[in-house]
Symmetry: D4
């Protein structure tokens, strides 16, 4: 509904190439589908380069399934924070849906959409501990379905820092790094100190006591002295995978 488009449309109205009614309808611009409890945003795939992702928490299995179905008609689909129960509901309707139980994600690959990696740039997902895997896997799933080559390097926290250094090659090989860590959250600072690649830091709620449900590592990452680090919300693997995908293209 911006300047150039409107100008063109106005001209078409004036020259009677477009009727008044059609022009109006076009100006009602961006398409979405109204399910009552949700307005499915089909336009997002165009506007943002990837369709709306379904965040399952606080939605009923039935609501998730309905939105999933609508999106699956035209897009790849990703649902995050999905329990096995939710997956069963979706599976009943969309046979090809796949569940990643560590990540808690459901994906559907629409075969009408080409799915080879956009380019040979790699996103590397690094995690500090075994317990951070659910968040790391959510990032992996998101980045892969958006068409990226994705590598994994798990359990390389600084308590045994040689595990990180011994994988320097994998790190150097990546174009973008997602670094996932709970507890003290120091891994992104160390990784960023070693390379000139963008580092997306993901704090997790893994930890206890002074971790305060992830506030500890969140603050660590926001306060990072090494430049080249940005931060997403606690446990937000999806957001990191999405952003990495944006800048990997």
């Amino acid at each position: 509904m911006y300047k150039e488009q409107i100008k063109k449309l106005l001209l078409e109205v004036k020259t009677e190439h477009v009727s008044l009614e059609d022009a109006l309808r076009k100006l009602e611009n961006l398409p979405y589908e109204d399910l009552g409890f949700a307005k499915v945003d089909h336009h997002r795939a165009l506007r943002k380069g990837f369709p709306e992702v379904i965040y399952c928490q606080n939605k009923t299995p039935k609501q998730v399934t309905e939105i999933f179905q609508k999106l699956a008609a035209h897009n790849h689909v990703l649902a995050t924070r999905a329990s096995e129960e939710v997956f069963k509901f979706v599976k009943d309707v969309i046979e090809e849906a796949e569940y990643n139980e560590i990540a808690g994600t459901i994906i559907f690959r629409n075969i009408e959409i080409e799915n080879k990696p956009v380019n040979s740039n790699k996103i590397l997902v690094v995690s500090a501990g075994t317990a951070d895997m659910p968040v790391a896997e959510e990032a992996v799933v998101m980045a892969e379905i958006a068409g990226n080559l994705v590598g994994k390097l798990y359990d390389v926290g600084v308590a045994g820092i040689h595990r990180l250094f011994n994988n320097k090659e994998a790190i150097d090989d990546a174009n973008v790094l997602i670094v996932v860590a709970g507890m003290d959250g120091v891994l992104p600072s160390v990784v960023s100190g070693l390379v000139d690649k963008p580092v997306i830091a993901v704090p997790t709620s893994v930890g206890y006591g002074a971790s305060f449900q992830g506030m500890g590592p969140l603050l660590t990452m926001l306060n990072a002295c090494a430049p080249g680090i940005v931060v997403v919300n606690i446990d937000n693997g999806f957001g990191a995978g999405y952003f990495a995908s944006l800048i990997n293209k």
Copy 2:
């Protein structure tokens, strides 16, 4: 028990239109009914324009039912944060009680009280996401039982801001807006930037990580730069509906 009333009463005592005992009883002023564990405030309907609302959390089903019954004798009744179990207790005693399972509310419409909308002013309840519906519905139920025309506009969060703009008419049509949002809580700021209507912002506990059980959107709304926004407690749909009702009249 204030000046004018007392002056009149004193005169009536002096002129012996009112006996000493009656005057005293009148001065014991405001009526309530004592159930031991609760003092049911019948006077509130007069004083505040709507009777006491029963907040069910931390009360036993039996306590709720007793209070409900007392209020139902003279008023419409609303109970919030009610589980299905509580509803069964109430239903056993008050056949006409109705349950809204999304909102978690029980209402009873006293047929002796007229129930047509007080005026043609509309309250519009806007929500950012599907997950915010329980809070939004609580606001709707409260506003409706208090005799208002209430509209709904759900799932129009700013991640797909065109869904909001395409409903500009509904927004312009309202007299008061209740805007419900969790996570980043930005919707009230955006809505308020568009209209000259009072906006009552309701933060919800929907979200994770840095939402900190709703503190995130609460701060967003309190810090709103757009004037014309006020805020109620996290998840307090009832309070928003009540206030909207007050200013819609």
Copy 3:
């Protein structure tokens, strides 16, 4: 740039009552004036019923003065959080500017705009203590310049609750109440328990220790049990005055 307006405009283009260029310019819709460091929002007076208010903190006296001048050409003007130094800058350019040193506000009444109260509804600004006066006065100034009748009731905190009760008449007489309190912030709860008027609660940073710069009274007010209370940001007298003005009309 919304539906009805566009429809009309499209028709005018089609019927050649409006030229293509004019239509385009109109669709570049909302006017503002660009000062480089600021975009003065002249349209706000239409859209919101009151022009942009200048928040002086973190702006240089020169910046404030420039914006003030631009707004003064067409509107009443209000600047908040203004030091005496800022006032001197403004005064040099706009002779008629007036300073309220308690509130820290500068106002300019544009004589081309009528300034009698819109109606006979009263806004009453109540404050708990003498120290809360700067915030209370900011609310008063805002409400008055927007054309409201405004009353004041200061220093009636609950430590001497009879001071409040003895002014019950003034409270009953008001249409909207703004209640300003620091420290424990209990005054809005008590006032709201007494009347059926909307109460806008304003926490202040007055206090020490567990007040934590106003977080104490802010939480008190958000947690108010008495319905009919909404809350604005700490020390935000302006916001309360603005909202009161919106609902007083």
Copy 4:
């Protein structure tokens, strides 16, 4: 083991009224009984005027029962935060133990200890809402077993402030006031503004959202402007009852 006692003991050693060994044993001064997992503090009844109270949370039913038994040999006993399961364990061993299911307390009245009220001074326990009863009852139980006359005034929160004023007599009649409130926690401020009695304020975790598990009312009470208020920990009915008992004597 303090000055006067030691002087006397030294003299007795010198004059050979007390043997070296006995003196040493006496100087190992204060008695307790060692259960391995707990050191039962029998001396506390002397030192503090009331025996050790058993806080049941994080203790096993068996541990509670063992400590209960040891204390019951010489004292009245009070156990707080006790589940029904814990009560069954205690009851099996101490037939006369009594359970208050609202307060979650177990008491045992040792018949060898006189149990009439120490004096005619009254402690009044006031609560804001029905949901605050468990905390209020804990205070009542504690104050009663320590030998005080205790009154109750429940559900008189400021949302219906006349319920409080109509009970002014009961308030005036008390020597010490315990005021229990959750949510906004304003009741102690209001009560203290009315009387010259010491007010012990007890915040509760009743509430939601900005109550933050009781931090809201805790801050309200600490920030109280009305002097004559002191505060105990959130939900600490026991502590309030104990302190009230100390100053009622």
Copy 5:
């Protein structure tokens, strides 16, 4: 304006011992003096046993002086948090005003009011460190002007716990204890573990880092395991002195 008083007054009106006008005036019950910016609460001395205390922060020297003068006509007066500048203003008008520069208090002893200690009960003010003296002295000044015998025991923090034990006699000799501590705030717990006297704990903002302006010791004191401790706001020496005075009588 309560039951018994009103009954009596009604009777007097009926029997014409009191005129209608006089009755009304009496019912306008509690006296205060209105200075515009403040409502001086003369009635408080009757209602609360001690007149309104002037909290100087956020008040201008002129405002303090005016309130001081009004109170001095009938009462002893205490002003807290007073700078030397404020004192000079007051001194100019009330020659006999005295300044305690450590406590930051101004007092005036009205010679018409008897000033010998009410009884021989002692209040002991204990402080952990030299830096806590301003708060401790504020408590002392308040307790003394209210007519109590007050002792002092300063700099006996637990880093050198023998300094506390060597003064056990002074502690045993007191009727009420005020214990002032910043940093870790452990002193009240230790003192309360030794005696059966009520302990009023006062956290101070003395400290750095994890003290977070006094939140550290505040939490320590609220969490005290030793019963018999109550807490007032951070740095609130006045409140502790006031409460101690209430329970010392």
Copy 6:
């Protein structure tokens, strides 16, 4: 000191092309210059693509100047959070140093290093209000000295959202967006909802009350529902500019 380098070096040692001593020295790998109080990291320009940036706060003017000089020998130099006093010290020694007083930055452009933009990709720095300019300018300065084309779009906060929409073209034209906002911090959410470009959100400490020194907008941004947003520390314009520069290449 990594695999390939070491392999090559080992071979050179074996073939005696490199002496034992030289190999050792080389393995002492990464160069820095030791000033005693600071270790200037010359290697960073190689490792990270941009030399160490001097953060002036908590450093003396003399320390800043010494580090500046060392870096200026081989690099462009950027110093942030610099007062005018610091600038004078630096200027005395490095004539060509330039000061940006809004951003508080000192830069030195080393003429030996080419300085034309690396490519035609644009970074757009968007700010919500005039008061956010110092942070926005810090981002601009950083991005420019690293060789990027940088655009500015200031004062387009959502209180007048049309100011944002009217600049849609500039937004669409950018490759990377830095969005700076204080108070409610909603601007990045809105911008990100409109485009498919990476958005780097920078919360500022501009605001008052519930902004809590920038924690308010920080939480808003971390909780953003619109994907494609990452966050840096409060007021960290430099970090945003650095990261934008990394991904713009």
Copy 7:
């Protein structure tokens, strides 16, 4: 991979005592075993003096068992925060594994490793209350398996401070003290005030209300005035036992 080792290795390469390939492999320095989801750090026993400890939370029983097995091949093994379910999995595979149900720890003593105490220095673990035992026992288990003599002194909190003083001998006898406390967390301050031994303070999440899941005692301990105290994370008995072991040698 540090200087001296590299020098020696370089020499061996040069003198052909070590082949190029072997040298390279050695420089891939520190050994770990890759299980995919975890990288078991065998080198830690050499580097840190004790092997990697398995933190069971957020790991599946199967993952724990696999890591346990790998470590058990060469080391003593300790797993913390282990449920009984996890223990059963481990027990199935490693017959000799032992479970401490209070501490929630699984240990395996590798008979190939000598297990007599390294020296006669004692570590004393002191706890404030019975409820703190799980954390205290975790510290005991860790310190014992690392080869230390460990004593226990439980339930000696300051509410009955004589229980502490009567065990002064045990305290004086220790070389290092671990002091575990929840609620007010004052015990470490008091213990440290009595001795010249290093005190490792462990806050626990035992408590309620203002304990805020252990933040209360954590702050108390960090603010301790008595020097000679250091602090570990809330409930981190393992960390305290580990550190005590380090300094006991």
Copy 8:
């Protein structure tokens, strides 16, 4: 006043080697000197191995000087957080006092006390940035005056991690490590991952935004995954130096 001492004293009283009066005086056990505002703890040198240290904040220069003088009679003296003004006061009285202006410390070396290092064990003080120097130096001063060999390694933060690795020798050479860091506070985690030495982590208030006056690095350090780390209060260089000294002996 403990068992063995008392037994011996009792015997001496019985055998008349000690008079009753002398025994009593001895039992008044631990010496301190009372200055009214402070109780100087001479006994601490015996009890704790180092005399009381003067914390200057919130004390007047005169108070500091008086305490300094008393301590100087028998001990080395250390005063921390001392301004230059305080130093001048002390210098006037104690000629030999020395000021360290970075650390803000005053020391006096009593020549009657031997001052050569107790042993050849080294304490190494490591700091992340130049801005952390005041805290690091406070630790150095404390450790040195207590008779330790102390090394320094400054400005080796992980943004340029090679600066740390290149000093591995100095780290290996130390017996105890004090690691000082602000901002993200990750340095202690990294250092502890490399060695088997006890690491005392000191968070500093250096930083901005999400550092929240040092809370950021404090949480990082408390959450450290690498075992062998303990933490002291924010900016508490003195406490770290003291504890290091305790365990270095």
